[in-house]
């Protein structure tokens, strides 16, 4: 087990190098002079030169890359070209907002997904199964920015059109923007979590169906074990193993998906930071935030792999 963890850590190194190379190159792959783009087209030559000097863009590329990585490892991601503020501080201030959003959404998705998946599997080919799977298919197909807008419409704003869905009036159950209070958290979490809930429900269902058909479940039933215990203690335990991987991947995916949700609900997280910075052509911020999210995702995946290995000792991941 220890050996496995060490080997997995070593395997992560080339990925980390690749990620840092990609993020570093972003600024240089943009057609045109990055300093000119950041300064703005009509900026005076002196200002462009200042930016170039400040970001060290006059040095050879490999020197720039080495500097970037050395600084990044020490927690220095450079400064915003717009506000001049420290990128690490900017990202750090928003880090937990995005992580919180992703964690709450994952919890919601796991909770709903597992229940729905188990019900669907135990009542397979019944109306409840079909209904749940249909809802899951919808959940999977819904763009979350649209879901977010619709939730805002129905539960935070309401309708003000006479004759247009008259039974819903102005509502203020939840808040359409911001992050922190319960009223602000509910809608974004539903928005971000729905897709994952659908995926987890489908995964749980098929995993449960695989397990339920196995011999040891038949043996348990033959022994006269109560059906509830067969399902929840014998079957679910093994059915959950593949689900764990999906949950881990989903959590990581939600870190990326948070960009859109944060933008819809005006939440000051890392996602909104990236999107605002893209619009402002503030490359150090874009690079720093993308780097942090990618690293977080890589380590979450590493953790999931190790957990998976731990849960399922039969599987040899060599």
């Amino acid at each position: 087990m220890f050996k496995y963890i060490i080997r997995r850590l070593i395997q992560t190194i080339p990925v980390l190098i690749g990620v840092s190379l990609f993020v570093f190159s972003m600024m240089h792959l943009v057609p045109g002079d990055p300093a000119q783009i950041m300064a703005g087209e009509s900026a005076p030559e002196q200002q462009v030169e200042n930016i170039r000097e400040r970001l060290g863009l006059n040095e050879p590329l490999h020197v720039q890359y080495l500097k970037y990585v050395t600084n990044a490892v020490q927690g220095d991601l450079g400064n915003s070209v717009r506000s001049g503020r420290d990128v690490s501080a900017e990202v750090g201030a928003r880090f937990w907002v995005t992580v919180e959003l992703a964690i709450y959404s994952t919890i919601l998705a796991v909770f709903i997904g597992l229940i729905a998946g188990v019900i669907s599997a135990t009542k397979k080919y019944t109306i409840s199964d079909t209904f749940i799977m249909l809802i899951a298919l919808f959940g999977l197909s819904m763009p979350n920015f649209w879901l977010g807008l619709m939730l805002i419409q129905w539960f935070a704003i309401g309708f003000d059109l006479p004759g247009w869905i008259p039974f819903i009036e102005k509502t203020s159950w939840f808040k359409p923007s911001g992050w922190g209070s319960f009223q602000q958290v509910v809608l974004p979490v539903i928005t971000l979590g729905t897709g994952s809930a659908a995926i987890i429900a489908r995964m749980t269902r098929s995993s449960m169906l695989d397990v339920i058909n196995q011999d040891y479940i038949r043996t348990a039933r033959a022994k006269g074990v109560k059906e509830r215990i067969v399902i929840y203690r014998h079957a679910l335990k093994n059915a959950l193993i593949p689900v764990v991987t999906v949950v881990g991947l989903q959590f990581g995916g939600l870190l990326g998906g948070a960009a859109i949700t944060e933008s819809v609900f005006a939440i000051n997280g890392m996602g909104k930071l990236v999107i605002d910075a893209i619009a402002a052509r503030d490359f150090p911020i874009v690079q720093g935030t993308i780097l942090v999210i990618a690293l977080l995702f890589v380590f979450v995946n590493l953790f999931v792999d190790i957990t998976y290995r731990f849960l399922n000792k039969r599987i040899d991941l060599d």
């Binding site: 943009v30 999977l140 649209w146 805002i152 247009w164």
Partner: protein, 302 residues
């Protein structure tokens, strides 16, 4: 066993009497399974409908999607304007109709591009193994290290926002997905005896790859491609929603939704209909993909 015989079907090694031709029989079974699968059938019909709308869009749409009519702006659905009008008084129904072609174009072209590159990388990786395999797969790992829409977002940042650049961004994000699926299938096909037989007969690598491996990995590939069109449409409309994709005044659904968000208070229909259109298209591809997967799956009987 069943899986093996299914995989063998694509090869021409064992000539059969015409009435027992396993290829034709397999196709008939597939078709039968597919037709019995109602979700897949509905998905397929919806997609055909959307393609029809794309072709005849300008005939179906009652108004020009770009003509502004400021006096009648932000009006709710009526018999004149089925989906109402937007903030410039443009007919939303006509814009949704015209947007279909943009959405399908992005979905199909990004998946075709991404799948072509991904299939090549995946086959090379799986067939040759060794160092080439490790290099390609580590590269794919790097691309996969950017969760969700983040990679596409980064690429669009580099390329700049436009419909074509969204296609490239989504295509590049899809490469590792296809490479992995294809590599896995290639590995399992490569182990089969008839590949060894072909090698012993002196067939070149290229010939083996294209004539004997590729035809046998098409089923998982088709399923993956169909499902990925759904994902691609979601990502692309998400990028446009963020203002990084199709630019106004193009009637792209994500961009239309983005316009609509400013009018949630007094004109909720502006955001409603483009979103519904995305849901239906994505749903159709997901249904078709699910159905194809069931049809190709040797575990489901008949």
């Amino acid at each position: 066993m069943k899986q093996t015989s299914q995989l063998m079907d694509g090869s021409n090694l064992s000539p059969m009497p015409p009435d027992l031709n396993p290829k034709a029989k397999y196709r008939r079974v597939l078709f039968y399974k597919f037709m019995r699968n109602k979700t897949a059938l509905i998905g397929g019909i919806l997609i055909i409908l959307f393609i029809f709308i794309t072709i005849f869009g300008s005939i179906i749409a009652p108004y020009d999607p770009y003509t502004q009519d400021i006096i009648n702006k932000l009006q709710g659905p009526s018999s004149d304007h089925w989906f109402g009008t937007d903030n410039f008084g443009r007919d939303i129904f006509s814009r949704v109709i015209h947007g279909t072609s943009i959405t399908l174009f992005i979905g199909f072209s990004s998946v075709i591009l991404g799948a072509t590159v991904g299939v090549l990388l995946g086959i090379i990786s799986g067939y040759y193994g060794g160092r080439i395999d490790s290099i390609i797969m580590r590269l794919m790992d790097v691309l996969l290290a950017f969760p969700g829409i983040l990679l596409a977002l980064a690429i669009v940042t580099i390329l700049g926002g436009s419909t074509m650049n969204v296609v490239y961004a989504v295509a590049i994000s899809s490469i590792p997905v296809f490479a992995r699926v294809v590599r896995g299938s290639t590995l399992s096909v490569k182990k089969l005896e008839y590949i060894d037989a072909m090698k012993a007969l002196g067939a070149s690598d290229i010939r083996i790859i294209f004539k004997h491996i590729f035809p046998n990995i098409t089923s998982p590939l088709i399923v993956q491609a169909t499902l990925y069109i759904a994902t691609a449409i979601l990502s692309a409309s998400g990028l446009s929603f963020l203002g990084l994709g199709a630019q106004p005044p193009d009637p792209e659904w994500g961009a239309m939704l983005s316009d609509g968000r400013s009018y949630l208070y007094n004109a909720p229909h502006v955001a409603l209909f483009p979103g519904l259109a995305i849901v239906v298209v994505v749903l159709a591809f997901n249904m078709l993909g699910d159905g194809l997967r069931d049809a190709f799956d040797p575990k489901t009987k008949e």
